[in-house]
């Protein structure tokens, strides 16, 4: 115990760094933590978030909803860019019952990535809807599992019912360069959305 254990923790070195939060969504088991780990400079960490929900179970005898709290583990990683930016990548829990937590995670986020699996297209619907409703810019990254069928982008765009401007890319969540490409695509898209707007 004591301070020796904290000495090995990689600190944010720059005193002028700007942090940026990105949310990585997708169904349970789609590879979100693998995706984060591929670019993170730290071993992905896990922290507890508390979700408050109102259960509406059929066994509620008095018909009043019961407030319950659930602790959900959030995995995240960190990537320091040479331009004095520290990216934090948060994995949004994929189980449908934890979706309210995605709304909390989007607060203060710059953008999102929906990691998808062509064997379970529908597994991405919930988080896509969540991002769209919040107006969070996002890209869909199709994780190329070896056994997953391959479709062309227009088929996938239809299947996900994506807005025309939402980028869709294929990726390998284990590969650093591939994940970097996904993040670059996201930032380019946000820039492209920004430029046409008249500035003051």
């Amino acid at each position: 115990m004591g301070s020796s254990s904290s000495d090995v923790i990689a600190r944010v070195a720059s005193t002028t760094a700007t942090s940026v939060k990105l949310v990585i969504g997708g169904r349970f088991g789609v590879g979100k933590t693998t995706f984060i780990g591929a670019v993170s400079e730290i071993t992905p960490l896990s922290t507890d978030a508390v979700m408050t929900d109102y259960s509406r179970g059929v066994d509620d005898l008095d018909a009043d909803s019961v407030k319950t709290t659930t602790t959900v583990a959030l995995d995240f990683g960190r990537l320091t860019l040479p331009s004095d930016i520290v990216l934090y990548l948060f994995g949004a829990p994929g189980q449908p019952r934890f979706l309210p937590l995605v709304d909390d995670l989007m607060i203060g986020a710059l953008g999102g990535v929906v990691l998808a699996d062509t064997r379970h297209i529908e597994g991405a619907f919930d988080v896509i809807t969540r991002f769209e409703n919040a107006g969070l810019p996002f890209v869909v990254a199709v994780n190329a599992f070896a056994t997953a069928p391959v479709y062309d982008d227009s088929e996938l765009r239809d299947a996900f019912a994506l807005a025309p401007q939402t980028p869709i890319v294929s990726c390998d969540a284990r590969d650093r360069a591939s994940v970097k490409t996904v993040l670059t695509t996201l930032v380019r898209d946000i820039i492209a959305r920004t430029i046409p707007e008249p500035t003051t």
Binding site: S6, A17, K21, L45, D48, L74, L81, G111, T184
Partner: protein
């Protein structure tokens, strides 16, 4: 001194003095917390002191403090807000989506990614 039960667990509202909401709603998971070591740390209450001592070697984000100290995120937000109010911590809030029209910053992110 009476024997203490050492379960390693504490009811989550205890370290925050029973307050549920962070004093600073601007704090989020990726807010960077920079310690100001010129401010006297002796006498800070329990968990607040723990957070401050943990941060003393250098800055980390709220989520990192929570993960390393094994405290719920909500608790760390409250403790960090107190330390900001008392001047022990200076925070740098992440760039939210509402500020994404800052092209300079977006270009910095893009160029940073490309330089990796």
């Amino acid at each position: 001194m009476p024997a203490r039960l050492r379960t390693g667990l504490v009811r989550s509202h205890t370290p925050t003095g029973g307050r549920a909401d962070p004093a600073r709603s601007s704090l989020n998971e990726s807010t960077l917390l920079y310690p100001d070591l010129t401010v006297e740390r002796a006498g800070l209450p329990g968990k607040t002191q723990q957070v401050m001592e943990f941060l003393a070697p250098g800055a980390l984000a709220v989520a990192e403090v929570a993960a390393y100290l094994r405290l719920p995120l909500a608790v760390v937000k409250v403790l960090a807000a107190d330390l900001i109010t008392s001047g022990h911590i200076v925070s740098r809030t992440p760039v939210p989506a509402e500020q994404q029209h800052d092209c300079d910053l977006l270009e910095r992110i893009l160029h940073g990614l490309e330089q990796l």
